[in-house]
């Protein structure tokens, strides 16, 4: 079985984020890190490999991003991936969800994986469920919010959190599975693994190498446009009651709740 783990480099959660007012996109300077949700994807791949129910020939970390994204790949490899693939091209800059999903699907196509694992969402909040976009292009079944994976013969039995509770779903391979953070506790890479990461094979591809139509990606190929950035609506100052007569106070609270149809 060949598993591809999609990973993304995102600004570190601790860095104060801003929008670059000239490009109207997230200011991506400052520290970047491997998207924490994707570490759960890699851990899931490792657990499948170590679980003994399937023979995993290789785990490949795949990312689309600028040059700096190699750090995310190094981290992925330190966590257990055997090699990594870096899709990078200026033509991809400014891609929206639609374009990104298309590009990722193309590079995955060139790898022909049996299973694609990725995190449910990216920390920078840019999009959720890109897995579902990729799966449609790849014509593979997809599930998101998966918190348990059991490997069977040519299929997976997954549990995922949905609106009405937990669903158990059987999925035929090949498939794209987006995992929630409740699925596992990612391991820490050992020092040896961290130091060895740079030596693992890393292939770099441009759009032409994997058959991506440049007109469908980047800013030009995106189907959404940021029209404006505004500060959030100002919240009006709230009312403050000092409790002197608790019965009265409680009455006021209940009236307030009632007014807002909260009870």
């Amino acid at each position: 079985m060949k598993i591809c783990c999609l990973v993304k480099e995102v600004p570190d959660a601790a860095v104060q984020k801003r929008i670059d007012s000239s490009t109207k996109r997230l200011d991506r300077s400052g520290e970047k890190n491997l998207n924490p949700f994707d570490t759960h994807g890699i851990e899931a791949a490792m657990q499948i490999r170590e679980g003994g129910n399937a023979e995993v020939d290789e785990i490949v970390a795949v990312t689309m991003g600028p040059e700096s994204a190699v750090r995310a790949l190094h981290k992925a490899v330190a966590l257990g991936a055997d090699r990594s693939v870096h899709l990078t091209d200026e033509a991809l800059a400014g891609s929206d969800v639609c374009a990104t999903g298309y590009a990722l699907a193309k590079v995955l196509e060139s790898e022909q994986p049996d299973l694609v694992l990725l995190g449910q969402q990216s920390d920078d909040g840019e999009c959720y469920t890109i897995g579902a976009v990729v799966a449609d292009h790849l014509k593979m079944p997809s599930l998101t919010q998966v918190i348990k994976i059991d490997v069977g013969d040519g299929k997976l039995t997954c549990e995922r959190q949905a609106e009405y509770g937990y669903d158990t779903v059987e999925v035929d391979l090949p498939a794209v599975i987006s995992v929630g953070d409740a699925i596992n506790e990612p391991r820490y890479p050992s020092l040896k693994a961290i130091m060895g990461a740079k030596k693992k094979p890393l292939e770099t591809h441009a759009t032409g190498d994997v058959g991506i139509d440049a007109g469908e990606v980047g800013e030009a190929g995106s189907k959404t446009q940021v029209l404006a950035i505004n500060p959030p609506p100002q919240k009006e100052a709230g009312e403050i009651i000092e409790d002197e007569d608790t019965n009265e106070t409680v009455e006021k609270i209940v009236a307030w709740l009632d007014e807002r149809k909260l009870i």
């Binding site: 109207k24 969800v97 593979m140 940021v226």
Partner: protein, 326 residues
């Protein structure tokens, strides 16, 4: 009819439609009337004629029903919606958030080569087109997103759209025959919607009663629990009390816990330090009870009560029970 907004309506095994979907239909109806076009809904699986027609009350003019597509899995619904949107020429697809909303919306993005905006908090009409507003950067800014070409896909944040049961009348039910894509049959539902009592998913609760250090001791969480019970909500906790072992980590809200946006967050004995604030600041209504008038929480609460929660909570619980019972 060219143009128009198609909304996906999710239902459970008993045919009850979920609140988010009803909210999305109401929102679509509002926007459609501004645009001078129609709002319609799409449902799949076993939905009765009455059930489907009933969506008209929320503003759906037509309801497309695909009886043969299974409910609960996204990809068959992508097949259905893609067909309806192409055949009928809808300009927008709108979802009320939630797992399936995201999954279907994302799948449609690929299928129809369309733009998608996620976690949308508001939608407006600008120059005859829809513009979706969404927060970014931990809610420190709002971006306006427009669409290039058609259709445009809008996926709302949970609870973003309010359901308005008006007098829209009965919707016209249109049955749709669907040929599922090959891969849409490769996932099969084994069990749907299993409840697991132990984990209360506080992220979905509409009402949360949060307890902080001001409660004083572990046993006093009872006060929060009783109030939450009376209000039909769940209990949340700050990092400090989870650290102290007063409440489980699953209930922790904040920078290192969960982020929630319920209709009501009642903060009892919580100071409102930023590490907690970032986890609940988007609650629609924030009610704070704290004996310290200088607690930071009063700077962003909608109603602040300076007083002793040990006195207030029990009385409030009784009063709420009375109000609801009577």
């Amino acid at each position: 009819m060219a143009g128009g907004i198609l909304v996906y309506a999710l239902h459970d095994d008993e045919g009850n439609f979920n609140k988010n979907s009803l909210g999305a239909i109401s929102e679509a109806a509002k926007l459609a009337s501004e645009l001078g076009t129609e709002a319609a809904a799409v449902v799949v699986g076993d939905v009765s004629d009455d059930g489907a027609a009933g969506l008209g009350a929320y503003g759906a003019k037509r309801v497309f029903r695909a009886k043969d597509a299974p409910e609960g899995l996204a990809q068959p619904i992508v097949d259905v919606m893609a067909k309806v949107i192409s055949d009928e020429g809808f300009s927008y697809a709108l979802f009320g958030g939630g797992l399936l909303g995201f999954e279907i919306g994302a799948g449609l993005t690929a299928r129809l080569n369309a733009g998608v905006t996620m976690e949308v908090t508001e939608v407006k009409v600008q120059d005859g087109k829809l513009v979706a507003e969404r927060p970014v950067l931990q809610d420190s800014a709002i971006v306006d997103v427009g669409y290039v070409g058609e259709p445009g896909i809008i996926i709302g944040r949970l609870n973003a759209f309010d359901a308005n049961e008006g007098d829209g009348g009965s919707a016209e039910v249109v049955d749709v025959d669907i040929e599922l894509s090959d891969w849409s049959t490769k996932a099969r539902m084994v069990t749907r919607g299993e409840q697991r009592g132990a984990d209360v998913n506080i992220e979905d609760a509409e009402i949360l009663v949060g307890g902080g250090r001001g409660l004083g001791e572990k046993d006093n969480f009872k006060l929060a629990e009783e109030l939450a019970d009376a209000m039909g909500g769940a209990v949340a906790a700050t990092r400090a009390v989870v650290d102290a072992g007063w409440y489980p980590y699953a209930a922790q809200i904040g920078q290192t816990g969960k982020t929630v946006a319920p209709k009501l967050y009642l903060a009892a004995g919580i100071s409102g330090a930023i590490q907690h604030k970032v986890g609940m600041q988007n609650s629609e209504n924030i009610l704070a009870i704290n004996k310290d008038p200088n607690a930071p929480i009063f700077e962003f609460s909608d109603l602040g009560v300076v007083g002793d929660l040990h006195k207030i909570l029990p009385k409030l619980t009784e009063a709420v029970k009375a109000k609801k019972g009577g």
